[in-house]
């Protein structure tokens, strides 16, 4: 490095002064905790006694734990259904709103409202709607003559479907807004050129809209998958992971082990599994973006 002029040195000093608050907070509440979580995952620690070295015990125990395997399965099932449904509905709304239908700005706000709604409050309302005896959904079903009413949140067959329904309701506005931004970035003259070539609505959608929307689609996909792997509040409020772990998910498992069972090692090991999943998905995003995604 060449010696810095006094002006540049002043700028350098100023820069670090501006960075001090963020550096302190970042180090204390993000960087060191990530390292600590990694280290804690190799210990047995109940917070009341000093930690004992466990090496890989927690990880081995996790993957031999039928509940943890069920938790991974549940989380995967949830992600596999919630993400495509939420994206598909968000895309359909965005396509509808992008045509300039009457009242579109009102629609956009309405579809987005659940996104800014507290998930705890939303979960409570939906728990009431899904109440198997007095909930509006089962009352409506019985008015339509359904006799074998699902027990929803207390049924291991239906509880996860209920949670998925709520998360789609809450998340589709988020996809919609991102898709709308993506659609508005597509140049109008491409459609005009296609119209001159005699392309109809469906071909235009298939050969212009969809390929040019692919960067946004890919972005929404990864963001939604990462977000869905972290589902917690809905499970906490609607089912408490029940019945018999039918809706237990990765973050609920971390919470349960850390703060109900005081097994910090197990909870941290599970958190590392979550970290690994999110990290892999983010790296996949960077690698595949160039291959699958069409830019203009």
């Amino acid at each position: 490095m060449p010696p810095l002029s006094s002006l540049a040195r002043g700028e350098e000093r100023a820069a670090w002064l501006f960075l001090v608050p963020s550096l302190v907070l970042f180090t204390v509440f993000t960087a060191l905790p990530v390292i600590s979580a990694f280290l804690i995952s190799f210990t047995h620690w109940d917070l009341f006694n000093p930690p004992r070295l466990a090496l890989l015990d927690n990880y081995v125990a996790l993957f031999n734990d039928p509940i943890f395997r069920q938790v991974l399965g549940n989380t995967g099932f949830y992600v596999l259904l919630a993400v495509p449904l939420q994206m598909l509905l968000g895309l359909l709304c965005a396509l509808g709103l992008n045509r300039g239908v009457p009242g579109q700005s009102v629609f956009r706000v309405i579809y987005f409202l659940p996104v800014v709604t507290s998930t705890v409050a939303a979960g409570l309302v939906w728990a009431w709607l899904f109440n198997s005896n007095f909930g509006l959904i089962n009352m409506a079903l019985s008015l339509f003559g359904v006799s074998d009413l699902p027990k929803w949140l207390v049924s291991s067959r239906w509880a996860m479907w209920a949670v998925i329904t709520v998360s789609v309701w809450q998340g589709l506005g988020y996809s919609m807004v991102l898709f709308l931004a993506g659609l508005q970035n597509i140049r109008k003259d491409l459609y005009e050129a296609a119209a001159l070539d005699g392309a109809t609505g469906w071909t235009r959608f298939w050969y212009i809209t969809l390929p040019l929307l692919s960067p946004m689609t890919f972005f929404v996909l990864i963001i939604s998958i990462i977000g869905s792997f972290q589902v917690f509040e809905l499970v906490y409020v609607m089912t408490k992971a029940g019945p018999s772990n039918a809706t237990n998910t990765l973050v609920y498992f971390i919470y349960q082990n850390g703060f109900s069972f005081y097994q910090m090692g197990t909870a941290s090991a599970a958190a590392m599994v979550l970290f690994l999943i999110v990290l892999t998905l983010t790296l996949v995003q960077y690698r595949l973006q160039t291959r699958w995604v069409h830019y203009e």
């Binding site: 350098e12 960075l19 239908v101 800014v116 709604t117 507290s118 939303a122 590392m272 983010t282």
Partner: protein
């Protein structure tokens, strides 16, 4: 939006109709929540259900404040969300100013490290942060609820991207006039970055108001609970008193609807330009 749109075609009216049904489905839970919150307790179990009670009970909204310290919970949420928002605006804008407007060794590396933190799910740092707060004796304190959120990589990234678009000539001109870095930051860059600061403010306030897991594990006294935690504990105690639970939900949601109504444009621009979404 351009104003010279072609008149809607029949197919547009069909789409309008479908979107209308969808909008009703989206609003349904809000309407039902409001309806239940105003019903007498026995009426919620009646079949067939009624939308508007013959005997509406606005007094339900008073009941929640006498049953649990819900007023304190709302106050705590305001205190925490406001403090976190103000702190993030200061801390992130200072960092963003250094990254966007100043040259220093290690700038790219440090920025990459901050960005990499976006890949870390918050649940990974949950346990070490809980242990830290507990060891500091900060359980049931405002600083325990606020300080872990005083900085965000997302906010720094959002503001830095925006500050990058400020013409360098404006900064150079101020420098030639003899302004120092603090004066340029406060007098030139911050005023020009107001739209991005607004987006970050609304975004952070809403996220903090709705935050649940961290306040859940770091508070135990009812007087220190925030709204979301108070609501969840209300559910634990009165799990069949639906009118009471629904009044609590309405009171938790309405402030965010107001905030969103005031700033939905900058909120959405925060999502779409921030690029990393609301994580």
């Amino acid at each position: 939006m351009n104003s010279a749109r072609p008149a809607p075609k029949p197919v547009d009216w069909l789409i309008f109709f479908v979107l209308l049904i969808g909008a009703l489905l989206m609003c349904g839970p809000f309407i039902w929540m409001l309806s239940t919150s105003l019903k007498p307790s026995a009426e919620v179990f009646r079949f067939p259900p009624t939308l508007l009670s013959a005997h509406p009970q606005p007094a339900n909204y008073g009941r929640i404040f006498s049953t649990i310290p819900f007023g304190q919970a709302l106050t705590n949420s305001v205190i925490v969300a406001t403090s976190v928002t103000l702190l993030q605006l200061i801390v992130c804008s200072m960092a963003a100013y250094a990254f966007a407007c100043l040259r220093f060794r290690g700038r790219e590396v440090l920025f990459l490290i901050y960005l990499a933190a976006l890949m870390v799910p918050s649940q990974v740092t949950l346990i070490p942060n809980f242990i830290l707060i507990r060891n500091l004796g900060w359980i049931d304190t405002y600083q325990g609820l606020i300080l872990p959120y005083a900085f965000s990589s997302f906010g720094t990234f959002l503001l830095r991207q925006y500050m990058k678009t400020i013409p360098i000539e404006l900064i150079e001109a101020a420098r030639i006039d003899g302004a120092n870095h603090a004066q340029i930051y406060a007098g030139v860059v911050l005023p020009l970055a107001l739209p991005a600061l607004g987006a970050l403010a609304i975004f952070t306030f809403v996220a903090q108001w709705n935050n649940f897991l961290w306040p859940l594990i770091t508070t135990s006294k009812p007087s220190m609970q925030v709204t979301t935690v108070a609501l969840a504990s209300l559910q634990g105690q009165f799990n069949t008193d639906w009118p009471l639970l629904m009044t609590g939900s309405v009171l938790a949601i309405v402030p965010m609807l107001v905030v969103f109504a005031l700033g939905n444009r900058s909120f959405i621009s925060g999502i779409t330009t921030g690029g990393f979404g609301g994580r």
